[in-house]
Symmetry: C2
Subunit: 248 residues, 2 copies
């Protein structure tokens, strides 16, 4: 019985699962749950995940959702997965768990709001309060990754020389900012040198799968940029306010 | 070297750790980090937890924060802890992880906002939008606990006959609603019969420690009620709007 991944590549935790399986030679069937067509709300998918969210998996008859729980499960259930992804050592594992748990209330929350507020909403009314609050949490989260989670001695989180499922999950999350205007992304993430280097190191450690699984996001970025350009050219030069900062 | 718990009993994840250690006969030293005196922001505590939040632990020289990561660690590090708290079985453990991860983006987020918006804010301006949004997430979370996480066959989450660290974490979270007016708490949680029974079952399975560790919350509830009564009696009967619902 093959492992089934119920995913939409536009969702960042979906991409993390796909990359993890591809990197670790885990056979799987990719089942596309198209979020924009609201397929996650269908009665069929509710049988897989009663919370109606992607990603979810079925491994034989075993059903599981929540991407961090799935990553932990896959790392333990498939013997070919190298230890660095989710170390068996009690202390190292606890530290990876600490990053994964921290992620929920910080980076994840911020990026989610930020990208959903801005990316699809071009031309629509902006929830300024939500956006400002999300930017605050996002900047604080990036600062904590820079000063706490990334240490001098290793290229990856927690000073490790090899990536864990926490590196994978957090970098896939930050990639969601690709949908923003390049200038805005640069303004937000540019000041964090260690974060930028870590994103590159993580990408490089996961090629060619990282690039391949993110293709959909790069296409979405291109499409959004065209929309922004079109909106821009139809607005008088004096009143163009396309960069995020000016909307705050 | 004794385990050190850096906690404030007014924080729900702090209480979960204390109850867990007491129930499992784990020796520890309780170090009070008084949140209302902003002791979590002190340079000394930053050495323990650079994120400046409680709870955190030091086990010998090993430092850890994030309550779920700590609960997982304690369950694995101390051999006397019974298996049901965090099962060694891969499938059962993955399900407990799934509940713990779900908790972050649902119940925890809602209760946190809800209790911080309402409890200390009596007499202060109300952020109606945040409160309404938090109530929506809270009610949806309770409905999911009732219909998904609680099953017919067992008294605890995931149909288990004994509690896990997920029962402990979620029930401590819901207890935070004690600071609300009784009528409001009843209005919010009253319709969820399984949730109510599960809270009672969890409390009963954890006595006398559950009650003892929550004493501080019951005292806070009493104090807040007196404040509410005082505010109520100084406002003309016709314009009293003490129940939550009327503030939405």
């Amino acid at each position: 019985m093959t492992l089934k991944l119920y995913v939409d590549r536009m969702s960042q935790p979906s991409r993390a699962l796909l990359i993890f399986c591809k990197l670790n030679g885990i056979d799987f069937e990719e089942i596309y749950i198209n979020l924009s067509k609201r397929q996650h709300l269908s009665p069929e998918f509710k049988e897989v995940n009663p919370m109606k969210q992607v990603p979810a998996i079925m491994d034989g008859r075993f059903k599981l959702f929540e991407s961090h729980a799935i990553l932990r499960y896959l790392a333990c259930a498939f013997p070919g997965v190298a230890d660095h992804w989710y170390p068996a050592d009690l202390y190292k594992r606890a530290k990876v768990d600490s990053v994964l748990d921290w992620h929920h209330s910080n980076l994840r929350r911020a990026v989610y709001v930020f990208s959903t507020v801005f990316a699809p909403a071009f031309g629509l009314p902006l929830n300024q309060q939500a956006a400002a609050e999300a930017e605050k949490v996002l900047l604080a989260s990036l600062a904590k990754i820079e000063s706490v989670w990334l240490q001098k001695k290793g290229r990856f989180l927690l000073g490790s020389g090899q990536p864990s499922i926490a590196d994978l999950s957090l970098v896939c999350e930050i990639m969601q900012l690709e949908v923003l205007d390049s200038k805005d992304r640069e303004r937000i993430i540019g000041p964090y040198n260690r974060v930028l280097k870590w994103i590159d190191d993580t990408k490089n450690a996961m090629e060619p799968h990282f690039q391949e699984v993110h293709l959909i996001l790069f296409k979405a970025k291109e499409k959004l940029q065209k929309q922004r350009d079109a909106v821009g050219s139809s607005i008088p030069q004096s009143s163009r306010k396309l960069d995020l900062h000016s909307k705050m």
